[in-house]
Symmetry: C3
Subunit: 346 residues, 3 copies
C-alpha cells in the first residue's frame, strides 16, 4: 500500500484501506503541524508549487505543509509560465521543472492539465485543483474532518446522515467528497439545492448502486433537520439561470437561529471555504462562529495535516519523521483563532 | 515588559522603556544581520508575509529578517487573496492563515485593515503598513538610526534639533516618528514644508503639550541651519494644490552645496526611502551619497535589526538566540555599498 | 583564479582556465543537484532573486540551485519594484537590497541594467539576463553540456563541427555561446539561418580571427549534415521582415525523419529552451524526445549544476561543501523525465 513515488491526481485512487492509512499518518503530523515539535525530515528537499491560476489559500497551505517538514518551496503564482506563452508544451515545462525540484504541486484552470504534467515526469505530482476536474486534497481533508468530528474511522460511517447544501451541480468539492463517501456503507445523503443545481444523476446513481440512501430536496430547514453533518457550499449567482432572483441564495443559508431551531444537537457544520461573508449572499453566517460544532476552520487546519501526510507518503519518509524531531521553543497560542472552541492540540 | 504573543500595530504601544528594550535586542541582532554569525533559533517556524499592496522593499526586508533567524517565509504579493475577491472577510482570511503559519506581517492599503487581521487571531500580527495609518517598524528603525547616529539612547534626546522636511501633512512616516520622539524631553522640531503640506495642528499641539519646541517654516536653508538631524521626505506633485508650480519641489531639496553652505558639521541626513533620483524631483541629491553623515542606507540596513528584534520578542526566543549560533563561513564584503563610509559591522 | 566576491556579468570574464575550473566545481555539484546528497554549506545565507521581467524557468532554476546548497531565497517576480515606479534609481535599489541578502541574481529587460546593479554594491551580482545583452549562465550551461555530450574538456573542442540554426542575428544565447566557443582552437561553425537573421558580421569576423572556420548557409539539410552538434534556436515570426511568409519557420526545423536522413550517428541536438511545441512553428519536433543524443533537457538539468557552482565560487565555500553533507533519504526516481534515456546520476 506504499504511495512512494506515485502521483496524487484523483480521489478515485483511494480505497478505504488507503484512506485509513493516510489518516493515520495525518494523525502523526499533529505535533508538527500545530507547532509542538519541529522535524527536519525533508531538509534539503524542494517542492515546486506551480499555481497556474490564483488560489492563495491552497498555495500557502501546500507551501506551509512542506516547510513544516523542513523542506524548501519554490513557486510560481502567475497565470502561466512566461515560456508557455511562447508555445512551450506542458510536457516540456514539466520535464524542465523536474530537474529542479523533488515533488510538484500543480494547480491549473483546465481539467486534465495536471494529469498531463504527471504524464511527463517521474517526480511525484500532486493535483492542487484542475479547473472543473479534481481537487483531491480538499476532499481528503473534508473526509478527515468529518471522521474526526463524529469520532469515527473511515469505513465506519454507515448510518451517518449528511446534508450537502448549495451548488451540487457544479461544486467540485461536493463531487469529490461524495465519491470518497461512496466507499462507505449505508449512509444517507440529503441533497439540498435549487432544482437547477441539484446533484448530477450519474453521481446519485453511483451512490445508490453502492447501497446509500439519496434524497433530493429544495427546502433547507427540512433538509438539515435529520443531518449529523451539514456540508455547505456557495451558490454563485452567475450559476443560476437568468430570471431566477437573488432570493435563491437566501433560501440556502444557515444562520444561528435556523440551526438552533431545526438541527439535532451536535450537528456538524462544514464548508470548503471561502465562505461569502458579505451580508447579502452569506451562506453560513458569522453568528455561528463560536458554535462548538462549527468545523469550517478545523477543516482548513486539517488541510495542513493531510498535505503533510501526502508529502511524507509519496516521498517515502514516514519512518524517518521523528528521527530529527525536537520541541518547539517559540511562542504559540493555545488556540489559533479568537473564537476557537478547542485548543489547537486537541 | 514581555512582548511575547502581542500584536505590533502602532507606535502608540511603545513607551520609552519598551523602545529601549527593543533597541537593546536589536543591537544583539547585529552579528546575525550582518552575516558574521548564523542562528537557527526559528528553524521550523513560518512567517506569513501578506502584502495586499505592493511594497517590494518592506516585503523583502521582513522576509530576510525572518530568514536570518532560521525561519521559513510563505508570502503573497498580489493585491488581494483570490478568495477575498469572492467575498471572504478579513476575519476568515486571518483565521485560515493562522492555521498555516506562526506569525503574520500584513500590509494593506486600507487604514485599520491590519488591526482587523489581528482581531481575528491569536497568532502575533505585525503591521507592515496600513495605508494612511501606521507603519510602526519604519518609525522604530528611524528612531534607532537617529539614536545611533547621535550616539544617544532613547530617553536622552532632549536638546536635539530635528528638521523634518517635505510633505509633513500626508507623510505617514513623519507622523509615526514624531509620535515616538514626543516621548522624549525638550526636543526642538523644525517643520519645513510648503504651507499646504505642513504638520497637522493636532500633532503640533501634541508635541507642545509634551514640552517640545515646534516651529513651522517654509525656507529650507533657514530650516536646516540649526538642525542636528534632517529627516527628508518626498513631496508628491499630486499632493500639491492645483496651480502650484513644479518649483515647489525644488524649494525643498538638499544637495551637497546647500549642505556644505548651511549645515552644522555632523548634521545627520535621513530619509524613509524611496528617494526620487530623477533629476527634476530629487529631494536629496546623489552628490551626498559619500557624505559620512548621509544615513539613509544605514536606516534601511537597521530595518533588518529592528524587524529581527520584533520577531524574537513576539515569538519569545530572545534567550535562545545564541544557543544554535555558529560563525558565517561564506564571503561577505566589508561594506555593502560601494560608497559606504563605514564597515557593516560598525 | 578565485571568483570570491566577484560579479558574474558576461561570458567575457571567462578564459579557458576559468571555464575549466567552473566545470570541475559543477561536476562536484552532481550528487547534491541530483538528490543523492544534501549539504548545508549555505545554511543561513540569502539569495535575492530579482526578476524585473518574467522568466519563470530561470527564476526557479537559480532559486532551486541556492536551496540545494541550504540557502534561503527571497525574490521579486513583478515587472518592477514598486519603489522604482516612484523614481528610485537602480543605485538606491541595489544598495538597499544589499543590506538584506548575501548575493543577488538580477534579470532585467534593459541591456546594461544588471551592470548598474553591480556597480552600486559589494555584494556579488549574477546576471540572470539583461534584455538583448548577456545571459552568461545560459552560455556556460550550454558549453558544459556540449563538452559532456562529446566527452571533451574545455580547451579540447578543436575539430568539432557545430551547426547553429535559427535566429542567429537577435538570438542572445547564440551570441554568448559563440563567444565562449571562440576561446577554443579550430572549430567549424556552420551558421544556418534565413539571410535576414544570419550571424552578425562582427561575430563572424571575431571567430575567423581566432582561427575558426565559419560558413553561412540557408539550407538546413545541408547545414546539419556534417555537424557533431546542432544548436537549434527559435525563429520568432515577428523578427522576420514583413512579406516573408510563414514557410520560413518550416525551413528551419528538425524532425526525426530529417535527423535520421542527414545527420551523422551521434549528432547532439541542443536548444536553449523554451522550444515551441505548437504544431506550426515547432523547430525541434517532439518525435525526437527519446533520441539518445537529444540533449535539450540535459541542458536545463545542467543549469542547476552551473548555477550551484557559481554560487559556491563567488561565495567562496567550495572547500566546505562536503563538511555538512549527508545522504538523501527521500524518494527519488532513477530518471526525471519519462522519456529520459539516461539515469539522472549519469
Amino acid at each position: 500500500m506504499s504511495l512512494a513515488g506515485t502521483h496524487i491526481l484523483t480521489v478515485e485512487q483511494f480505497d478505504l484501506a488507503k484512506v485509513e492509512h493516510l489518516f493515520k499518518v495525518a494523525d502523526r503530523m499533529l505535533p508538527y503541524a500545530r507547532r509542538e515539535r519541529v522535524t527536519r525530515v525533508l531538509e534539503g528537499a524542494i517542492l515546486g508549487n506551480l499555481f497556474f491560476e490564483p488560489s492563495t489559500r491552497s498555495r500557502l497551505s501546500f507551501g506551509a505543509a512542506f516547510n513544516r517538514l523542513g523542506g524548501h518551496v519554490r513557486e510560481t503564482t502567475g497565470f502561466a509560465f512566461s515560456s508557455m506563452a511562447k508555445g512551450e508544451s506542458i510536457y516540456d515545462t514539466s520535464r524542465v521543472v523536474s530537474g529542479y525540484v523533488d515533488i510538484l504541486v500543480v494547480r491549473h484552470p483546465e481539467e486534465g492539465a495536471v494529469g498531463e504534467f504527471a504524464a511527463a515526469t517521474n517526480i511525484p505530482v500532486i493535483n492542487g485543483g484542475d479547473g472543473p476536474g479534481e481537487h483531491p486534497t480538499q476532499a481528503l481533508l473534508d473526509l478527515y474532518t468529518l471522521c474526526q468530528e463524529r469520532g469515527l474511522r473511515p469505513g465506519t460511517l454507515g448510518g451517518v446522515n449528511i446534508a450537502v447544501v448549495g451548488d451540487l451541480r457544479y461544486g467540485r468539492t461536493v463531487h469529490s467528497l461524495t465519491k470518497l463517501l461512496a466507499l462507505e456503507d449505508s449512509m444517507r445523503f440529503i441533497c439540498v439545492a435549487p432544482s437547477d443545481l441539484q446533484l448530477p444523476d450519474d453521481l446519485m446513481q453511483h451512490l445508490r448502486e453502492r447501497g446509500h440512501q439519496v434524497e433530493r430536496i429544495d427546502d433547507i430547514a427540512e433538509g438539515i433537520r435529520a443531518a449529523d453533518v451539514v456540508y455547505m457550499t456557495r451558490i454563485q449567482q452567475e450559476r443560476l439561470p437568468s430570471g431566477v432572483v437573488d432570493g435563491q441564495q437566501d433560501r440556502f443559508r444557515i444562520d444561528a437561529s435556523l440551526y438552533d431551531k431545526v438541527c439535532r444537537p451536535g450537528t456538524v457544520l462544514m464548508h470548503p471555504l471561502p465562505r461569502d461573508s458579505r451580508s447579502g449572499p452569506s451562506e453560513l453566517t458569522t453568528d455561528l462562529n463560536r458554535y462548538p460544532k462549527f468545523a469550517i476552520f478545523r477543516q482548513t487546519d486539517n488541510g495542513i495535516l493531510i498535505r503533510m501526510a501526502l508529502f511524507v507518503l509519496v516521498l517515502d519518509v514516514v519512518d524517518q519523521l521523528d528521527i530529527t524531531a525536537r520541541e518547539v521553543t517559540w511562542y504559540r497560542p493555545e488556540r489559533f483563532g479568537v473564537d476557537d472552541t478547542r485548543p489547537m492540540l486537541r
